[in-house]
């Protein structure tokens, strides 16, 4: 059959191709690890990473040029006002930017804050503090639906324990739809609702958008992850791990702990991931390993070429620096096309270290390792969580509850430290002085996120400490389990 082709048919053909291209480009695959292009470098403050002794935080405006640590940052009408702290260091100083009026000096923080003006009390109503939780309930990478019920779980437990300074937190969930546009809309809604503070757990690009929007709205924000190249605003607090440092950590782990000499790394086609990948390659080679590296398009449905190349490389362990779906697909294809070689897959941060991912993997991720902010559900430190959390239905969805529980613990610690005169100002000051350790300061249970330390202007509170988890069991019974406790070096 060879019919004549009409002009309208050709137009339709071109439109069809365009529509499909647009559909694909809109991002159909699940992604947690895709930073936006063109963001600023992590390194600032004389070349030092900000989590390694860079500039101090001034809670509004630009990083201050004053002294080290949290020093008497009395800003103007919109700034954070901090009076003398009851404990802490010795160095005082002033900030030169950040507010319209300068203020008096204080002494370095490090413990509980003193008579700190509360600042805005938006979101605090009687005995309730409303906090927004921004997660993707829909879209390309949604969290399990039971997150709604699990999100309030921790603060229900806090209520049983008597609350925090006579108050308790109500979590209000906002759906980002896994998109930056959805993030903007969600923040607009949250501003309209008048939330006090925000916490978020989403894919990198969405987290970056949320951070910018919440900063513009002057809403304090706890963020799970950000692109390595993003400058973290002074009212955002990064509680996950810096992925730029994950590369060398994973390289060290592969060589020193797994004792492999042929290692691999595969990333998605995103220049924002190159820095961490390159850091991995450099460290692995310095450790004497041979390195295989490759790139995939996460929208592809067939990774035969990459899997064949990986198989030919004889790599014994490979870092899949990507979203859950392509990671599962590659592992499944590898098991099929390269059955004679044993591979240990390694993941990072919150990209695919969820129990839910193990179901479609159907055994292909057996023995995998992941550098995670939290441990496995069976970890003894989560006994209370497992006892209290009745909303999570199975092992498959409960670990998202663990993340929410951990967010609650960090929030609660800062709210407690801010004292009865709670407002955004006193909360920010408390966050800047926060050191969580391994025990929940409000309930006495084990912390679910890494021990945090935001003192001295640190921007990455975790100090890059990760728990290594490993897959226990196989197929339908597989579950992530704690392999080693929080550590920064391997």
């Amino acid at each position: 059959m060879r019919p004549a082709r009409s002009r309208s048919s050709r137009v339709a053909l071109a439109l069809g191709s365009t529509a499909l291209l647009a559909l694909t480009a809109s991002g159909c695959a699940a992604r947690f690890d895709r930073p936006p292009p063109g963001t600023q470098s992590l390194d600032q403050g004389g070349g030092l990473p900000v989590d390694q002794g860079g500039l101090p935080i001034t809670p509004t405006g630009q990083p201050g040029t004053g002294t080290t640590g949290l020093t008497g940052t009395t800003s103007g009408t919109t700034g954070v006002q901090q009076g003398p702290s009851t404990t802490g260091g010795t160095t005082g100083g002033t900030t030169t930017t950040g507010g319209t009026a300068g203020g008096s000096t204080g002494t370095a923080g490090g413990g509980t804050t003193g008579s700190v003006p509360p600042g805005s009390t938006t979101g605090i109503n009687g005995t309730t503090i409303t906090v927004g939780l921004f997660v993707p309930k829909t879209g390309a990478a949604p969290v399990p639906a039971t997150v709604d019920a699990q999100a309030q779980n921790y603060f229900d437990y806090v209520r049983e324990k008597g609350g925090i300074n006579g108050r308790n937190v109500k979590i209000k969930i906002y759906d980002t739809g896994s998109t930056e546009a959805g993030a903007r809309t969600a923040v607009q809604q949250a501003v309209s609702d008048g939330i006090f503070a925000a916490v978020s757990l989403d894919r990198l690009t969405v987290e970056a958008r949320l951070t910018a929007e919440l900063h513009a709205a002057h809403i304090p924000h706890l963020v799970a992850q950000l692109p390595p190249s993003t400058t973290i605003p002074d009212d955002a607090f990064y509680i996950g791990m810096n992925q730029l440092h994950h590369g060398p950590q994973i390289a060290d782990y592969m060589v020193h702990n797994l004792r492999k000499t042929k290692v691999g790394v595969i990333i998605e086609t995103d220049p924002g991931l190159n820095a961490a990948r390159d850091a991995f390659v450099t460290r692995a080679q310095a450790n004497g390993a041979t390195v295989y590296k490759n790139v995939i398009n996460p929208a592809d449905s067939d990774y035969t070429a990459q899997v064949n190349a990986l198989c030919a490389s004889k790599a014994e362990t490979t870092w899949l620096y990507m979203a859950p779906t392509p990671a599962v697909n590659i592992a499944v294809e590898y098991r099929q096309l390269c059955p004679a070689q044993k591979m240990t897959w390694v993941g990072n941060n919150i990209s695919w270290g969820f129990n839910l991912v193990l179901t479609p993997a159907a055994g292909a991720l057996d023995g995998a390792k992941v550098f995670s902010p939290w441990g496995g559900l069976r970890d003894p430190r989560y006994t209370t969580f497992n006892q209290v959390n009745k909303e999570g239905q199975t092992d498959r969805d409960k670990d998202i509850g663990l993340a929410a529980w951990g967010f609650g613990q960090v929030l609660a610690a800062a709210i407690k430290q801010a004292g009865p005169a709670l407002g955004r100002n006193s909360f920010l000051v408390a966050m800047q002085a926060l050191k969580t350790g391994t025990t929940d300061q409000v309930t006495g249970t084990a912390m679910c996120w890494p021990p945090l330390d935001f003192t001295g202007g640190k921007r990455y509170g975790s100090g890059d400490r990760s728990i290594v988890m490993t897959v226990q069991g196989t197929g339908a019974t597989a579950i992530w389990a704690t392999e080693s406790d929080y550590r920064s070096t391997f």
């Binding site: 082709r5 137009v11 499909l20 291209l21 390309a140 592809d300 449905s301 859950p324 294809e333 096309l337």
Partner: protein, 292 residues
């Protein structure tokens, strides 16, 4: 290089079934169907859920699931024809194109709502065997897809050129109004095209998803993008062209992807589509009249 060629052919083979479905529907009805991918995917979702949960006290095997997918997709294709496409007969090509896009989106959103975004395990109906050739390893699923696409293309070509119904189909393709005046039951041709297109869509889904081991909403539509590129390059009115074009797409994906990067290989493929539309709109194996 030989290894890349073999891998490229295996990748292209996975797209060829979808490309054949696109060409069959287009050459019979002049409708460029963007719903072909999701019709198969939706049927596969249902079959796999059946396999997982054992409805009616029966857990069908993975192979039976594949057969159920093919049958279900055929039925879905007929439903789309009856409810959406038949009322649009005679409408501009742009209208029908948008209609198929909407059908694809509705099906994908339904998958999203019912099964969620998380990958759904999709085991292979032909087992996990592999074939090693010139240093490359390809799966039995990919080999099956290529063989099935070739078989289907030959069978359809014979059917359309050697039977009276095939002649009727060609008459409808040429001019539906004239064919109707000559006594051809035009609606039957449309039913045939969408029904068989649906069956092929189901077969493609049943074989494509297991290659990566999982199924997600929109994943078959993403694959359709490559299949469509192959169909345009090979010739939208040529069943053989659909296969040849798909294999070429696979070769570019493999060779350029392994030597440069996946983004560049995708760019090369769509540049080839553009060049084809500009220079030889009938495609490599399409009819000469198309350029008239």
């Amino acid at each position: 290089m030989l290894r890349d060629l073999i891998i490229g052919l295996s990748i292209g083979s996975a797209y060829s079934l979808l490309a054949v479905a696109v060409v069959l529907i287009y050459s019979s009805t002049k409708v460029l169907s963007l719903a072909v991918g999701e019709i198969g995917a939706f049927a596969l979702y249902v079959a796999l859920r059946w396999h997982e949960r054992g409805w009616f006290g029966w857990h069908p095997s993975v192979f039976v699931c594949a057969l159920l997918t093919i049958v279900g997709a055929g039925a879905l294709g007929l439903l789309v024809e009856r409810l959406v496409m038949r009322p649009m007969v005679g409408r501009p090509a742009l209208d029908t194109l948008v209609a198929t896009l909407v059908v694809a989106l509705l099906l994908a959103l339904s998958e999203l709502a019912i099964y969620g975004i998380n990958p759904f395990a999709a085991p292979s109906p032909v087992g996990h065997g592999t074939v090693r050739l010139l240093g490359a390893t390809v799966s039995a699923t990919q080999v099956t897809a290529l063989l099935l696409a070739g078989f289907v293309a030959v069978a359809l070509w014979l059917f359309l050129t050697r039977t009276s119904f095939g002649l009727a189909t060609r008459a409808v393709t040429g001019d539906a109004t004239v064919a109707r005046l000559l006594g051809v039951k035009v609606n039957r041709v449309y039913v045939f095209a969408w029904g068989v297109g649906g069956l092929l869509s189901g077969a493609a889904a049943a074989l494509l998803a297991p290659i990566s081991g999982s199924l997600t909403p929109f994943s078959l539509t993403t694959a359709l993008l490559s299949a469509l590129a192959g169909a345009v390059i090979g010739g939208l009115d040529s069943l053989g062209g659909a296969i040849v074009g798909s294999l070429l797409v696979g070769l570019v994906t493999s060779v350029v992807g392994s030597r440069v990067d996946p983004t560049t290989s995708a760019g090369v493929i769509f540049l080839a589509v553009l060049v084809t539309l500009l220079v030889r709109p009938q495609g490599l194996l399409g009819g000469a009249r198309a350029s008239a």
